[in-house]
Symmetry: C2
């Protein structure tokens, strides 16, 4: 096997243990003589999987009882529409514009009501998290993107929105650090960065928001449908949910979210320290808002960046190219990224700097 | 391994060869050193997978060039809403009511326009396909469910709808027989019965219908978005698409759809012949409309049905219980069901009849 260090921004690295376990039981799930790919979603065996996945998520993220945990389809992009369809309904909502993902959410919300841009870092190409927000007191909700994969910025402290529900797209950081779920009305995350494969979206929604689904909304677009039917209104993406279950068991075994948070901080520090000490690499995000998930940096010239990416590729480091909209380089170091891989990358970066002085 | 014969209605049996191949390369796809579960959907490796899947589907189903092949999420249930959102838009559509699935489609369409029930078999608990349809000349489209899994009925010949686009939910029969795609405006199918795992929906749509997506529809709900972006507007369900590719390669190796159709006919004949000759089993569907995918039957009493299901379960035959809404028994014999398993079931049924005379 041709060894690779997977720094892709998403779909992204999964724990090797999880893939091995899935491989091991792909033909025969728990000795039942059938594959997870071909069992009924109404079977006891799948029931056990989806229930365990939910219980583990509730336990690990310390989710209060008055929140439902849903497994939906369509990715975060679909939530960009589903949220305003259920909760905006011609009203007004505050959105904070921190980059490409926030912008996509804003675009879709405008189909359904008034959008107030309560803060933006567009003036500096989204390299920071805006501080002085102009929140609307009668907004239906406040929406933010807790981590922006392209700019490589992340919220450290979340704004206090009082009685207005706070909604966060946590696709690129879910389960990477402790979060006080009770401060949010709704949290959503495409699974394919930190908790699973592409094809399932985790939604954590407070019960009073579930109740707001309008009656004239078609069945599959209502949060209420999925909350009432426990994500089983129709056939859910069974295999993707099964992998989430395995990932949650892996997180638990590693000591839970607190332990992962510490390792994630350490991983990020290795790369940011190197960048700060270097004369070749420059971080693109403001220091205070640096993402612990996506480390974005540039070299002194595009030519050198290309050389860097090429040599890195030859050494097995894949996915280091920055997003096409901003260029440069990016190391995505999600939950499943082992610290040893980050150290190997740092070693390579130091060597590359020495060789290209 | 505890050998099972998987007669579930869906998610349903997949070819053993396909699961084995997926297992074999789950840790290392084609020697690239990464899993299909963790590669970028923008990578060359995934590009190759999705393109091959589409090419094989186009070739096997003989799909004309003026149709797009889309991989969407949300199942057929989501298409029940997406179709009228894109194509009905306050107009009128003809729906043919052949059972639970057709009814669900009708329910959602009513959110978006007028629905004319052009035919129904509800008078006989959906045990036949209605013949004399009252089609509307100015309908936006005609919708039918080509195979109903619960009643066990299937369209043999499709109605001629002239210039009005014909739309079919083929979830439970896609790729099981030859179809003249050019007679349809749109065909859709949740993958989890005949072509893959749960979590991806195949949509085959004629280009002139793609153009009808209204501008005021949110991005992810427009067919146009997905057709223009070739199902890559956002991260698609990569693993499910990969399995579809493997299933298409398996179909090709078996001689294509024509060869499968012949085997499927033979499989169905084994069970229907047995039922017709039996004094214990009674088929529930009208003979002319019997499904080649879902063979529904009853025994002389509920007590005996329970005994039958219990003994069958002990012999490894799973998924034979009829849908909870109609009771009785059902053998789902989709593409991946080997004829040997059907023969084994027939042997068991004959023995059970003898033992319970």
């Amino acid at each position: 096997m041709n060894k690779k260090y997977n720094f892709y921004a998403g779909p992204a690295i999964l724990p090797l243990e999880v893939i091995k376990k899935a491989q091991e039981e792909l033909l025969d799930l728990n000795g039942i003589g059938l594959s997870i790919l071909e069992i009924s979603h109404r079977s006891k065996d799948f029931d056990n999987i989806i229930n365990t996945a939910k219980e583990k998520i509730r336990y690990l993220l310390n989710i209060p009882d008055n929140y439902s945990i849903l497994f939906l389809q369509g990715g975060a992009s679909f939530q960009f529409a589903m949220i305003p369809m259920n909760l905006l309904k011609g009203g007004k909502a505050d959105y904070i514009n921190t980059g490409a993902w926030a912008k996509k959410a804003i675009k879709e919300a405008k189909f359904f009501g008034d959008v107030n841009i309560a803060g933006s870092s567009e003036d500096k190409n989204f390299n920071y998290i805006p501080e002085n927000l102009t929140l609307t007191s009668d907004a239906s909700y406040v929406h933010l993107t807790s981590n922006e994969t392209i700019g490589g910025i992340q919220w450290s402290e979340f704004p206090d929105t009082g009685d207005v529900p706070l909604i966060a797209d946590m696709s690129s950081e879910i389960c990477s650090r402790r979060i006080d779920v009770s401060k949010f009305g709704l949290i959503y995350a495409g699974a394919q960065k930190n908790i699973g494969p592409a094809g399932v979206t985790l939604v954590i929604i407070k019960d009073d928001l579930v109740e707001k689904s309008p009656d004239n909304l078609t069945t599959m677009l209502k949060y209420k449908t999925h909350a009432e039917k426990k994500s089983m209104f129709n056939t859910p993406p069974c295999f993707a949910i099964y992998i989430i279950k395995l990932v949650m068991e892996w997180i638990e075994k590693r000591g839970g979210i607190k332990a992962l948070e510490a390792i994630n901080e350490e991983k990020a520090k290795i790369l940011y320290d190197l960048i700060d000490e270097s004369n070749l690499y420059t971080g693109t995000a403001e220091v205070k808002d640096r993402s612990r998930m996506n480390v974005t940096f540039r070299l002194s010239s595009e030519e050198l960046e290309n050389k860097f990416l090429e040599e890195a590729g030859r050494e097995g480091f894949v996915g280091l190219k920055g997003h096409r909209s901003v260029g440069g380089c990016r190391a995505s170091i999600y939950n499943a990224m082992p610290i040893e891989y980050v150290r190997k990358l740092a070693d390579f970066m130091r060597k590359f700097e020495k060789d290209n002085r």
